[in-house]
């Protein structure tokens, strides 16, 4: 696409330059009358055209099917300059060719404008698709795929620079009961509410993704276990204190969370396993709790 546009731009530059040369020639011819007694020297080349991508190939190519033989002869005459070179051409011929160039120029501009429109449309569609591919539609949070990419980057940063980070894996306690008792619509409402609390309570540098059905995974860059537990506690407390209204009931849920921190030799799987183990310990200890990794 970009290449085609570039080619389109080049043709347009050719047409523009040809038109400007013809305009100069025509002015010169008109100034002298059609007798062409003596021609002034060819005008100095104008400043580079804004659309031109380079000087190469700006002149109409000889033998090209798009160039009129009359235009070729005219061009040769203008190129050579000197007196009387334009004598064989009538003013009418030149104006005709100029009009033709101007028409071509207008048409090329239209094609380029339209193509730019289609190109922007494609760009926007790509951006939208990229967003959709990374986002959980229900909560608007980054999805598992997006989080995996972030984790890979964080692990690489740790391996290279030793930059610490922690994960907190949250799971809504007894979420199945909410779905069973109040229906999936209410379940979705609860999920959206929990997601929005994470959005509010987490630090700007943290990222929360919807990891699975009722699981949320939080990435805390430059954060050790102790700090991560504090962050997790803040979220846990806020969630336990909130409720959603559904079917004239106030439905509150709690979450349990498990923390793991990066350490030498850990890959993504090991990290997530660590957070999962911590989460199980939180659940075992009675839910609505945050547990750090075992020392």
């Amino acid at each position: 696409m970009a290449k085609i546009i570039a080619i389109g731009d080049k043709y347009q530059a050719e047409a523009l330059e040809s038109a400007s040369r013809l305009r100069h020639a025509l002015e010169a011819m008109e100034a002298l009358g059609s007798g062409n007694r003596a021609l002034p020297p060819r005008p100095a080349p104008e400043a580079p055209l804004p659309r031109a991508r380079g000087q190469d190939g700006l002149r109409p190519r000889r033998g090209s099917s798009v160039v009129d033989p009359l235009i070729q002869r005219l061009h040769a005459a203008i190129e050579e300059g000197g007196e009387g070179r334009l004598a064989p051409f009538a003013v009418n011929d030149v104006s005709l060719l100029l009009r033709r160039y101007e028409k071509t120029d207008a048409r090329l501009e239209k094609i380029v404008t339209i193509s730019d429109g289609y190109q922007s449309q494609l760009r926007e569609a790509t951006t939208r698709m990229d967003y959709l591919a990374r986002t959980d539609p229900l909560t608007g949070l980054p999805n598992r795929r997006d989080m995996m990419e972030r984790l890979a980057r964080e692990v690489a940063r740790f391996d290279r620079y030793g930059t610490l980070f922690s994960l907190i894996l949250f799971d809504i306690d007894d979420f199945k009961l909410v779905n069973d008792r109040y229906g999936h619509e209410t379940g979705d409402k609860v999920l959206r509410n929990v997601a929005s609390i994470f959005g509010r309570e987490l630090r700007k540098s943290d990222t929360c993704a919807r990891w699975g059905g009722e699981e949320f995974l939080v990435l805390c860059p430059e954060t050790g276990t102790v700090e991560a537990v504090i962050v997790g506690e803040k979220c846990r407390k806020a969630i336990a204190e909130s409720a959603v209204e559904a079917r004239e009931c106030r439905i509150g849920v709690t979450v349990s969370g498990g923390v793991s921190a990066i350490a030498a030799g850990f890959d993504i799987d090991a990290l997530i396993r660590g957070a999962d183990d911590s989460l199980y310990r939180a659940k075992d200890a009675g839910k609505n709790l945050i547990r750090g990794c075992e020392a």
Binding site: M1, I4, I5, G8, R107, K110, I111, V112, T113, I114, S115, G117, Y118, S120, Q121, L122, E124
Partner: protein
Amino acid sequence: MLDMEGTSSTPAIAFDEASMTLSIRGESYPENSFAFFAPVFEWLNAELGKLAVFKLHVSVSYMNSSSTKCMLDILDMLCEATRGGLDARVSWFYDADNERALDLAKEFSEDMEIPFDIIPVGGEAK
């Protein structure tokens, strides 16, 4: 008869004699648009002069630059034939949810001396 089946990169192009309608639908980004559209130009050159009424229905959501040129050339041919007495009309369908598509339709219709209807399709407003 003009009846070209569409592919993912080329539009379906067909003439319906009953309604005197040439329809172009799909997306258009063939590797060689000029070769792709050549049969259409050939057909228009041969048939347009014989017709009294002609409708063009365009429903193309994406075109590359060379297809854009071909489309403008087709519209030019219709304008020319209209000057020669043909009763021609263009219906340009666009996705109502896509503002840019409307701008593009207007860009195509601009300076074309032929009845040109720009018709929204779908959309939440309806």
